[in-house]
Each structure stands twice: as structure tokens, then as C-alpha cells.
Symmetry: C2
């Protein structure tokens, strides 16, 4: 007689970038069967969705891409509006124009619906409040507030089946995130972080996201596998 071992399930938000790829590897390491979910919100940097698909294929896990193009059509962000351009990194503490109104809230809500349906016990979100663009929905206050929404606003929460919102990268520097990932054999060449990546997944090297990623690899003195747009 054979025993089939069952693992708890976790929904992992996978953008295709470095952080969410690391998060997926952590979730798997922590014993979950992972269910990555990505969102087509009309982002101009389509390469990240292709990266997300490649990541799911690499880990041989079922991938869900949710059509949210109507979110992008509302505009209001350099990531979705053809007339607004993502700026170079400038070390400002202001929220940059790459902020997409309520993006993580929308993504988490849908991930939460998915988690309830497949009876997942956790949702992994690779947000970080150290090397980041000062987005409000990447901060601990937000994580706490959304956890309360899970508790009060879902059948799972009310009936005492907890769905935990896990943010293992929240307080890590980019260097530490990469270091954790490398220990889990993450291949970062699969991921695309750049806000202005071209369709081949090549990165600009100067936007917020590229800057943090570049600094991370540089601080660790390890080769940066990012493919940059030839200058």
C-alpha cells in the first residue's frame, strides 16, 4: 500500500520579477504546493508576463493568468498609460508615477478568491519595504489591514479556516532577497524586473526596479544575470 503525501496549498502572486520568483521558491521550500497567479493588467512591459509563464513552467506548477486589462484601461500610471513615461530612479521618497492605483489590493483580492476556491492555506506576496519605490501597498501597515479583510470578509475567515497572507521578503534588502533565492537554487535569469523592459525581456538598467536589482547583485559581488538593452 502506498501513501500519497499531501501538502497544503499556497497561492503565490508571480509578476515575473525577482521578488515574486524568490517568494515562489520560499513557498515551495516551506512545504506548500504552489499555485502561481499573474495578472494581465495591460502593463506595457509585457515581458514580465512571459517571464511569469516561464517561471511556472520551470517549477512545473499550474499557472493562472487573470485578464484585468480593464484595470489598465483606467490609466493613471506610467506602467499602463502610453502617455506617461516611467522615470529613471532618483532616490526620492515620493510615490513615483509607476504607482498603479490599488494594484496590489486588486491582485490580492483575486488571489484570495482563488485561495478560497482551491482551499489554499496561504497567499504569498513578494512585497518589500526596504529597497522599493515607496508604494503604499508594499508596507507592513497594509499587510496587517489586508489580513483583517481576509479574516472578516471571507467565508474561510469567518468559518475559522485561516488563509494566511505571507510576505517573507517584507523586511529584507534586495541583497538579502537574492541571497535567500540563491540558497534555494533560484535562476534569476528567468525573471524580468524592469518597468521598461522590451518585448525580449531586456532591461533598461536605470528605472527604480532595475536600480534596486542591480545594486543587489553588485553588493553580493556575484554576476548579474539580467539582460540589459544594448546601449
Amino acid at each position: 500500500m502506498k501513501f500519497e503525501q499531501t501538502h497544503p496549498k499556497a497561492v503565490v502572486l508571480v509578476s515575473g520579477g525577482l521578488d515574486s520568483l524568490t517568494c515562489l521558491a520560499i513557498a515551495q521550500k516551506e512545504g506548500y504546493d504552489v499555485f502561481p497567479i499573474s495578472f494581465d493588467y495591460g502593463q506595457k512591459h509585457r515581458a514580465e508576463l512571459i517571464a511569469a509563464e516561464n517561471i511556472a513552467r520551470h517549477y512545473q506548477v499550474p499557472h493562472k493568468i487573470i485578464d484585468l486589462k480593464d484595470l489598465g484601461r483606467m490609466g493613471g500610471s506610467a506602467l499602463t498609460d502610453q502617455n506617461i513615461h516611467a522615470k529613471d530612479y532618483d532616490a526620492s521618497k515620493a510615490i513615483p508615477n509607476t504607482y498603479v492605483p490599488a494594484r496590489n489590493i486588486v491582485f490580492l483580492s483575486i488571489a484570495l478568491g482563488y485561495a478560497e476556491i482551491i482551499q489554499a492555506e496561504a497567499i504569498y506576496l513578494g512585497i518589500n519595504c526596504i529597497d522599493y519605490s515607496h508604494y503604499p501597498d508594499c508596507r507592513p501597515e497594509f499587510v496587517q489591514a489586508f489580513s483583517q479583510v481576509i479574516q472578516t470578509g471571507t467565508k474561510a475567515g469567518v468559518e475559522g479556516q485561516s488563509i494566511q497572507l505571507k510576505t517573507p521578503l517584507l523586511y529584507l534588502s534586495k541583497e538579502e532577497i537574492i541571497s535567500v533565492g540563491l540558497n534555494l537554487q533560484v535562476d534569476y535569469s528567468m525573471s524580468v524586473s524592469c518597468y521598461r523592459a522590451n518585448d525580449q525581456g531586456e532591461a533598461c538598467g536605470t528605472c527604480d526596479s532595475c536600480t534596486f536589482r542591480k545594486q543587489g547583485f553588485s553588493s553580493l559581488h556575484i554576476p548579474d544575470p539580467t539582460r540589459y538593452i544594448p546601449s
Copy 2:
């Protein structure tokens, strides 16, 4: 010289049902320029979306319908899954199979993104915890938790431009809701509440939603303008 009077904006979640129609009328009465938003989440009772369109046309306000069919495709609810049937009302306090996992959370999140983009000051949600189907996302605890998400998770919240989540029907009975609406000249024949409405917008008369609506009109001793499916 003419002065153009400007009103603050409010996003109103409009399902096409009695409650959200009343909510729209209240928002307008409270001095807002209203921006109704509806969601095509693959609901089987498509008549409610047509009702929502008719309501927006009646009030001559711009209507946004967001494509969220991928939410419905996940299944998990009698409102979206062809293989699960919405039951008749049975006065149970259990959460019925018409619960759509995380539905109001998803809807509110997208309404919140829209509110940030158009710089609305309020979001109106016609939820009610008196004559209702015991959905967790229709209770005051949830409203409080989501308000905290607005505060902590958005640029508007962090920068001190408050977007208020308003739920004027929360503690009203169905009878009281109808009474408020009638004082605002609401024409309830435009709305469709039934979970099993046919494509002509005719109602079953026996699901949870029909039962509460019917009782509301009956308690007020006024004619019920609902069109029922001929038996």
C-alpha cells in the same frame, strides 16, 4: 460671468439590484457626482448587468462595466458555476452557495482604483447586514477592515486625501431601504435582484434575494414592481 458649480465625485457599485440602486440615489442626494461601476464576473443572471446599464442611463451618468469574467471562471459559487444551483430561501444562518469567494473585496478594490484615478472622495457600497444572505463581506467588521486598507494601501490614503467607504444601507431592513428609495423617487421596476433572473429580467420569487425584496414591498403595503417569471 458664470460660475460652474463643481461637486465632489463618488464611485457607486451598482449591481443592478434594489440596494445598489437605492445607494446611487442616496449618493446623488448627498451632493455627489456619481460614477457607477459594475462587474461582469460571469454571473449567470445576466439581467442584472442590463438593469445596471438601464439605471445609469436613467440617471444620465457615465457607467463603467469591468470585465472580470476570469473571476467567474474560477467557479466556486452558484452564481457563476453552471453545475451549482442557487437554492430557495430557507432562513438558515449558514453562508449559502451563492457566496462568491472574495467578490465584494475584488469589486471594492477595483472601485478603489477607479476612485483614486478620477479623484473621487467616496465609494458607495449598498451592502446590508439585516435582510441578507449572511455573506461575510456584507458586515460592519468587513467595512471597517476595508476602510483600513484604503487608508494604508493607497496613495490617496497615505497622502491624506480621504476616500470614504460609505455603506448607508448597512443597518436598514429591506422595508426601510425601499422606503428611503421611494422618498428619493427611485423607480424600482428598473432593478433586478433575483439570483436566478431570466434574460428578460423576470424574477423567480423564491431565492434569498427575491424573498427579502418581496417581504420589503409587502411590509410597506405598496405594489411590488418586480416582474416575476409566470408560473
